[in-house]
Amino acid sequence: MNPLAKLVEAALFASARPLTVDELLTLDPSAGATAVRAALAELRDAFATGDHGVELIEIAQGWQFLTRREYAEAIDRAQFALRPRRLSPAALETLAIIAYRQPVGRIEVDEIRGVDSGAVIEKLSERGLVEIVTRGEGLGRPLLYGTTPQFLEILGLKDLDELPRLEELSVALRPPAPAELE
């Protein structure tokens, strides 16, 4: 492969988007557009033999290496297997409040987060991470939530005592004294 083709290969690989011939020209001020086009053709042919998992494609905005279509499904499948599903920050916050303050009512969660948490709590409940554990005293006897055994299982904790204590968190916190948790 000629040296310019190798440089173009490296640049196309590292770029987050397709590159045009004009853009590729900035790689080597001494190379002309003809030389860049020849390099692109050489590269395309080298990867087009069917002996590679990727190919060089000319698309509207320029040139880009893309994985061959026939491998897309396997790669997608592998990504499913690898890509763990994560909770949104809002869900994590709500979960954290419930974990540390349980049993805790929705109103208290709303007050701490400063936003309505009803929908988030419902989602967490659907996912089996929190559940209604009891009813509170007082007006309307509110439903109080706590974490489930599945919550511990996902975090790999034996019991709730294994949750880090709040005073160990890096930010200087004023953890509520036990009496204030009620």
Binding site: R86, A96, R113
Partner: protein, 246 residues
């Protein structure tokens, strides 16, 4: 050396640079030791301590707790070294030992820092794949919760709370009796007075509530007359005369 008077002088710009130059008191100490080409294990503590003090005062680092603490430590060791000791005293422990151990340990870390920095620079000469295809949509993967993420969320949440206490109801009883006494004293002295005369300039919510209840109570008893020109106008209090006999 005096501290720069104007924070936007060249001095302060230099200060920032110098601050970044040393990553801590140990770094500064090592710098001095290397500059003087002295033996760490036989540290000329008096000389190094003086230089350390001079540098931190020059750089304004004597405001930083870590540097101050080290300065104090150096002076203590310097003093201990001056204490007389008997020849061949086996009990004598070199007061520099702990500092020397820390310096050697830190020097080792600095060497590793160079190695790590070089490795990172070398790695940065190579680029990874820039284009990441859209992640495939759909089928749910198993749920993962990272303990770090949960802790970070807890921190965010707690940062939101000005006080972690939710509603702490503090029993602060209203002092209606006191307010009543205050009003009655005023009634005895004057025919009319204003709201401000009763509660004063620096009234708490408790004072306001106590006074208000006392006023209403006294008005109900017919001891006074409360009058307000319009909404939000100053409240005027007038003695009800002639006094009703009860």
């Amino acid at each position: 050396m005096s501290a720069p008077t104007n924070p936007v002088t060249q001095d302060s710009a230099g200060f920032v640079v110098e601050l970044e130059q040393f990553s801590g008191p140990l770094d500064l100490l090592l710098h001095l030791i290397h500059e003087d080409e002295v033996d760490i294990t036989d540290l000329p503590i008096a000389k190094i301590a003086d230089q350390f003090l001079a540098v931190i005062s020059e750089l304004g680092l004597n405001q930083a707790a870590d540097y101050l603490e080290m300065a104090a430590r150096l002076l203590r060791i310097k003093a201990q070294m001056l204490l007389p000791r008997r020849l061949g005293d086996d009990e004598w422990e070199d007061p520099r030992a702990e500092l020397v151990r820390r310096l050697l340990e830190y020097q080792q870390i600095r060497e590793l820092v160079e190695w790590l920095g070089a490795a990172a620079a070398r790695r940065a000469e190579q680029f990874g794949r820039g284009f990441s295809p859209e992640p495939p949509a759909a089928p749910p993967a198993p749920l993962v919760i990272d303990l770090n993420d949960l802790l970070a969320a807890a921190e965010r949440v707690i940062a939101l709370i000005p006080e972690p206490v939710l509603h702490r109801v503090v029993p602060r009883p209203l002092d209606v009796e006191g307010a009543t006494a205050r009003i009655q004293a005023l009634l005895a002295a004057r025919d009319t007075f204003g709201w401000g005369d009763v509660v004063g300039a620096r009234s708490t919510i408790v004072d306001v509530l106590s006074t208000f209840i006392a006023l209403l109570e006294l008005a109900k008893r017919g001891a006074l007359h409360v009058h307000q020109e319009g909404p939000f106008a100053p409240i005027q209090i007038r003695r009800e005369s002639p006094r009703e006999a009860r």
